[in-house]
C-alpha cells in the first residue's frame, strides 16, 4: 500500500524532509500542510524588501514546477486543529480530516511575545512572514525610525540591513537580545558596543510602561518607559525569539514539554509521528536533557534525518556545537545563524 507522508510545516525542515522522502520512496504520497498561503520561501531573504523591487516569487526556494515534478502537494492556508495519533488522522480547521501513514511535525516556531507586552500586540509589527515584512516596508517612511524590542538574531539581521539602507534603529535590549546565542555578560557588553558602532542606538535596563499610537501627524508609535523617558517611532517590532508552534499536538498523546520531545532519531513517543526543526526538543545524552537547536543548517539536517528514519534508516542526531556570535574585522557583529543555502 502506498505510504502517505504528511508533513505539518512548510519551512526548512519540512521541505528538506519532503525532498528526501520523494527520493527514497518515489511511489509515496507526500502532503505538506501549512497555515501560510505561499510555497516555501526564504525568510532570511526578507530584508531584501528594503532595497530591492521584489516580491514573494523572488524568495521561493524551489520553483513552482518542483512541486509538480516531485508530486508534493502543498496544502496552504490549512490550519491543523488536532492530531489523532490512534487513528492516524489530522483534523483541519475547515473540517476536513486527512489520514497519514507517518507524520512529521515541522511547524517551526511562532514569535515569542512576553506577557507584559501582550496588551500592546496590535501596535507591534512582526517580521516573521512575507506578508508581515511587506507591511513593515509599506508603513516605514524613508529613513524612518524603527524600535526593536528584545533583539534576537532575526531582529539583528534586519537591524543591520535597515541601517545600511539609511533607517534609524533603536534597540531596547533585554535578556532575549542575541537569542538563541548564549552570551555571557562580558560578551554581551562587547556585542552591544559593536552594535552601537554599527549605528544602532542601544537602550539597556529600560522597562516599557506603555506603547501607544502616535498623535495624528506625528510618528505612528509612542513608547513610554517607567523612568519617564519616551521614544517616538514609526514602527515597533518585537524580537524575543521563537516558541514552538504545535498547540494542535495537545491531546494527541505525544509527549510535549516546551516543544515536542523526540529521541536522537527524531521520533516522538508515538511510533508514527516524528518532529524536526524549531518545534522539537531533542534528547541530548551529553547534557542529559531535551534541548532545542536552531539555525538553517541544523534544521535542514533534522529534516533529512527525519525523512531517512521515516523510510527505514536509523540515523541519529549528533549534538551540534553551539554557534557563537562574534565581531568581525570591520566591527560588524556576525551570527552563524544568518548563514543559509
Amino acid at each position: 500500500m502506498t505510504e502517505h507522508y504528511v508533513i505539518i510545516g512548510n519551512g526548512v525542515a519540512g521541505n528538506e524532509a519532503a525532498c528526501h522522502l520523494r527520493q527514497r520512496d518515489p511511489e509515496s504520497r507526500i502532503t505538506i500542510i501549512t497555515a501560510g498561503r505561499l510555497l516555501f520561501y526564504s525568510r532570511y531573504e526578507l530584508p531584501r524588501l528594503f532595497h530591492e523591487d521584489c516580491d514573494w516569487r523572488d524568495f521561493l526556494v524551489n520553483p513552482v514546477e518542483y512541486y509538480v515534478e516531485n508530486r508534493i502537494n502543498v496544502r496552504r492556508n490549512s490550519f491543523v486543529t488536532h492530531v489523532d495519533a490512534q487513528r492516524k488522522s489530522i483534523n483541519l480547521a475547515h473540517k476536513e480530516s486527512i489520514s497519514y501513514s507517518q507524520l512529521l511535525v515541522a511547524s517551526g516556531g511562532a514569535t515569542n511575545l512576553p506577557a507584559e507586552l501582550s496588551d500592546f500586540a496590535p501596535l507591534l509589527n512582526r517580521f516573521n512572514l512575507y506578508t508581515a515584512a511587506c507591511q513593515v516596508r509599506d508603513i516605514l517612511p524613508k529613513k524612518g525610525k524603527v524600535v526593536m524590542l528584545g533583539g534576537d538574531v532575526l531582529g539583528l539581521d534586519l537591524a543591520r540591513n535597515l541601517i545600511n539602507e539609511g533607517y534609524q534603529v533603536i534597540l531596547v535590549a533585554t535578556e532575549q537580545t542575541f537569542w538563541p546565542h548564549r552570551v555571557d555578560p562580558d560578551e554581551r557588553k562587547l556585542l552591544l558596543g559593536a552594535l552601537t558602532d554599527m549605528g544602532v542606538e542601544v537602550i539597556e535596563n529600560a522597562k516599557i510602561e506603555t506603547i501607544q499610537e502616535g498623535a495624528p501627524g506625528m510618528s505612528a508609535r509612542h513608547i513610554l518607559f517607567d523612568d519617564g523617558c519616551e521614544i517616538f517611532a514609526d514602527v515597533v517590532m518585537p524580537f524575543f525569539g521563537l516558541l514552538p508552534a504545535a498547540d494542535f499536538m495537545m491531546g494527541s498523546g505525544v509527549d510535549f514539554e516546551r516543544g515536542l520531545l523526540v529521541g536522537t532519531n527524531l521520533r516522538t513517543t508515538d511510533p508514527s509521528i516524528w518532529a524536526a526543526g524549531d518545534v522539537c526538543q531533542i534528547w541530548s545524552p551529553e547534557e542529559n536533557q531535551y534541548r532545542f537547536y536552531y539555525g538553517w543548517q541544523n534544521v535542514k539536517k533534522m529534516g533529512e534525518i527525519a525523512a531517512r528514519n521515516m523510510t527505514g534508516d536509523d540515523i541519529h542526531w549528533e549534538t551540534a556545537t553551539d554557534h557563537k556570535m562574534y565581531i568581525d574585522e570591520n566591527r560588524q557583529i556576525v551570527s552563524p545563524y544568518w548563514e543559509h543555502d
Binding site: L38, V64, V74, R76, N77, L92, H94, K95, E96
Partner: protein, 600 residues
C-alpha cells in the same frame, strides 16, 4: 477603482457553484458593477438543464480596459461556491491566480473534498468565511455568494457603490430587510477583503474612454436581438419557448407591447412561423425565435415564405443537437438546416453575427432585408452568443430603415398589378392586403407573375432564377458587414475563416499568433446565404494555408465554402458543448505556419 491609470486591465473571473447557490446571480452583479465602472465586459454563463437544486453553474466574466473578443482559456480567479463542482475547474486558473473558497464549511468532510487540497502549487488560496459571515449577517447561508463578492471587491479595492446599487436593485421587489442584510453581508466581507494581504499580481486599471456620441451598455446576445428588433420597428412576434432562445420572447413580452406591438405565444413552432409569415404577408414587421429543434419544425413553412416571397425574420439560437440534444450547451450545427433546410430550391438569407453588437445590427438589418428582398431571413445565433454578456456601443441614432419595401411606382399604380413581375433587380413591387389595386393570388404552388399556379418548365426556371438572383442584392445591402478581414494584409501564411460566435476565439488566437511573429489574417463571414464568394475567394488566394474552426462535427461551414472553392483547407471541428478553446485554434495556426515555413 485603484489608482493605476496606465495599467491595462485584463482579468477573468470564474464563479462556480451548484444550481441554487446564486452562482449566476453573483456573476451578474459582478459584471454589471464592472460595466458600471466603465470596463469592457465579456461574460458567459453555463448552467444545467434542470431548473434548480441540481447541476453545475459557472459564470465566467472577463473584464478588460479594451475590447476583448472571447473569454480567456484560463481564468485569473476562481470563486468556489460549491467545492465538489469547482474542484474540476481548478486547473483552469492560471499560475499566480487566486482561488476563493469557503474556509469554514458547515459539515465535516473526507480527505479531498475541500478545494484547498486541489490547488496547484502556483495558485494562491484565499479562504473566506463565507458561511459564517452569511449566517451572522442574514441569518442563513444563502448569502454566501454575496459574501464572496464582497470579499473580492474589498480585496481588489473596488468601489462599493456600484455593487450596493446593483444589490439594492436586485432585491427591490423583496422585503427591504433582505436587501439590507445582503448589503451588510457584502460590507462585512468587503472589510475582510480589504484587510487581507493580496499575494497575486492582478490589477484593475482605468477603463478606456468610451466613444462620445454612443451609448455603452452591457447586454447579452439575445438582449441585443431584442433591442435590434425594437429599433427596427418590430410589430408582431410569435414564438414558442425553447432554450436558448426563450429570453428573446420573454424580453419582448415586456417591451414590445409598450411600443404598441403584439406578442403571442403560440402552441408550437409551426404555428409561430405560420403566424409570422401571415403577419409579414399583411405588411407587419414580424419575427419568431427558436432553436434547432424548432427550426426543424419550421422549414416547411419557410418554403412557403420563399415561394410566396413574404418577408419574415427567424432568429435561431443553436444548441447541441441533433434532436433534443444538449439544450444548455452551445454548438454551431444548424448551419446546414438554416441554409438548405426545406423542400426544393428554397434560397433564403442567413446572417450569423459574431458578437453581441453584431447581433443587434443583424437583428435590425434582418427586417430591412426581409422586406427589401421579400424573403425569410434567418439570423443564426448560438447559445454562447445568446447568453454571453458584452459591453457594446450602440448608436444614438436609430440605424435601421423604418420601411424597406419595394412599392409600386406612381405609374405602376395605374396598370394591372403583377405581384411576381420580373424586374431588373428580380424584386417585384409588393402590396399588402387592402391596398387599392393590389389584389393578387398567393400560393405555395409555383406560379406566374400574377401569382396564379403555373408549373411550366420555362416559368419554373424563370421564377427559380428570380428567387435566387434577387438575394444577391443582399450582398451589397447598406449598413451591414457581410464579411470582414482582420490582421495582416496581403499575402499571409495562415488565414482563418470563421463564422458566428467562434470568431471571437479566432481573433484572440490570431492576435496571439501575430505577437509570435506568424503572418496571419482572419476573415469573418456574417452572411452565410448568399455566400460572399468573391471576397472569400480572394482571401483564399491571399493565404497559403486556410483554417476553418467551427463548433460542429461535420464542418458545416467548411462544407459550404468547400462546395464553392476548390482550394484545400484545414478543418478544426469541436463539439464540447462549450466555446472553442483559443489554445486549440492557436495550436493549429502554429502547426500550419510551421508547415508553410518547412515547405518554403
Amino acid at each position: 477603482m485603484i489608482d493605476s491609470a496606465m495599467t491595462e486591465t485584463d482579468i477573468q473571473l470564474m464563479f462556480c457553484g451548484s444550481a441554487g447557490d446564486g452562482t449566476i446571480a453573483v456573476g451578474d452583479i459582478f459584471k454589471r458593477a464592472m460595466a458600471e465602472a466603465g470596463f469592457k465586459v465579456l461574460a458567459f454563463d453555463i448552467y444545467p438543464p434542470e431548473i434548480r437544486g441540481f447541476g453545475k453553474c459557472i459564470s465566467r466574466v472577463r473584464v478588460t480596459s479594451r475590447q476583448a473578443y472571447s473569454l480567456k482559456h484560463q481564468s485569473d480567479i476562481l470563486v468556489s461556491l460549491n467545492d465538489s463542482y469547482a474542484i474540476p475547474h481548478v486547473s483552469e486558473v492560471r499560475d499566480f491566480g487566486g482561488v476563493l473558497y469557503d474556509q469554514a464549511p458547515i459539515s465535516a468532510m473526507a480527505e479531498g473534498e475541500h478545494i484547498s487540497g486541489h490547488l496547484q502549487p502556483g495558485q494562491l488560496p484565499y479562504g473566506v468565511s463565507m458561511r459564517e459571515v452569511s449566517d451572522q449577517t442574514t441569518g442563513g447561508s444563502k448569502a454566501k455568494n454575496i459574501v464572496a463578492l464582497g470579499f473580492l471587491a474589498g480585496l481588489y479595492d473596488m468601489q462599493r457603490e456600484p455593487f450596493h446599487q446593483i444589490i439594492r436593485d436586485k432585491f427591490k421587489h423583496k422585503d427591504p430587510i433582505i436587501s439590507e442584510s445582503n448589503l451588510l453581508a457584502f460590507d462585512t466581507a468587503y472589510d475582510e477583503g480589504v484587510s487581507t494581504f493580496r499575494l497575486d499580481f492582478i490589477e484593475l486599471g482605468t477603463p478606456e474612454r468610451q466613444d462620445i456620441g454612443s451609448k455603452v451598455q452591457m447586454m447579452t446576445g439575445n438582449a441585443a436581438v431584442v433591442r435590434g428588433c425594437l429599433d427596427a420597428g418590430l410589430e408582431t412576434f410569435f414564438g414558442y419557448p425553447i432554450t436558448p432562445a426563450t429570453s428573446i420572447m420573454e424580453d419582448l413580452a415586456t417591451d414590445l407591447p409598450m411600443r404598441g406591438g403584439r406578442l403571442l405565444q403560440t402552441e408550437d413552432e409551426i404555428s409561430a412561423i405560420a403566424a409570422t409569415i401571415g403577419a409579414g404577408y399583411a405588411g407587419a414587421r414580424a419575427a419568431t425565435a427558436t432553436s434547432g429543434p424548432g427550426l426543424a419544425l419550421m422549414v416547411e413553412m419557410l418554403g412557403l415564405g420563399v415561394m410566396a416571397e413574404v418577408p419574415s425574420v427567424i432568429f435561431c439560437s443553436q444548441r447541441g443537437g441533433p434532436s433534443t440534444g444538449m439544450p444548455t450547451k452551445t454548438e454551431q450545427s444548424d448551419l446546414h438546416l438554416a441554409v438548405f433546410g426545406g423542400a426544393g430550391d428554397a434560397q433564403r438569407i442567413v446572417l450569423a453575427p459574431t458578437n453581441v453588437e453584431g447581433a443587434y445590427k443583424c437583428a435590425g438589418k434582418a427586417f430591412e432585408m426581409a422586406e427589401r428582398y421579400q424573403t425569410p431571413v434567418i439570423v443564426l445565433l448560438d447559445l454562447y452568443l445568446s447568453n454571453r454578456y458584452e459591453t457594446v456601443i450602440l448608436p444614438r441614432q436609430n440605424p435601421f430603415e423604418a420601411d424597406s419595401s419595394k412599392k409600386r411606382s406612381h405609374q405602376e399604380r395605374g396598370v394591372p398589378y403583377h405581384r411576381f413581375s420580373f424586374t431588373d433587380d428580380n424584386v417585384s413591387p409588393r402590396t399588402v392586403p387592402g391596398e387599392e389595386g393590389g389584389i393578387h393570388t398567393v400560393t405555395g404552388l409555383e406560379h406566374n407573375e400574377l401569382g396564379r399556379p403555373n408549373d411550366q418548365p420555362d416559368m419554373h426556371l424563370k421564377m427559380s432564377e428570380k428567387r435566387h438572383n434577387k438575394l444577391l442584392g443582399a450582398l451589397d445591402h447598406p449598413g451591414i458587414t457581410i464579411q470582414k478581414r482582420f490582421g495582416d494584409e496581403g499575402k499571409v501564411d495562415v488565414g482563418i475563416l470563421g463564422w458566428g460566435s467562434t470568431f471571437g476565439e479566432i481573433l484572440e488566437a490570431m492576435l496571439v499568433a501575430q505577437d509570435e511573429g506568424i503572418s496571419c489574417s482572419a476573415m469573418k463571414v456574417v452572411m452565410l446565404s448568399p455566400l460572399p464568394l468573391q471576397p472569400v475567394q480572394e482571401f483564399f488566394s491571399d493565404c497559403r494555408e486556410i483554417l476553418i474552426p467551427e463548433l460542429n462535427y461535420e464542418g458545416q461551414f467548411a462544407n459550404l465554402v468547400g462546395s464553392a472553392i476548390s482550394k484545400p483547407f484545414t478543418r478544426l471541428n469541436r463539439v464540447p458543448g462549450v466555446p472553442m478553446r483559443v489554445a486549440d485554434i492557436l495550436d493549429e495556426i502554429r502547426r500550419l505556419a510551421a508547415q508553410v515555413k518547412s515547405a518554403a
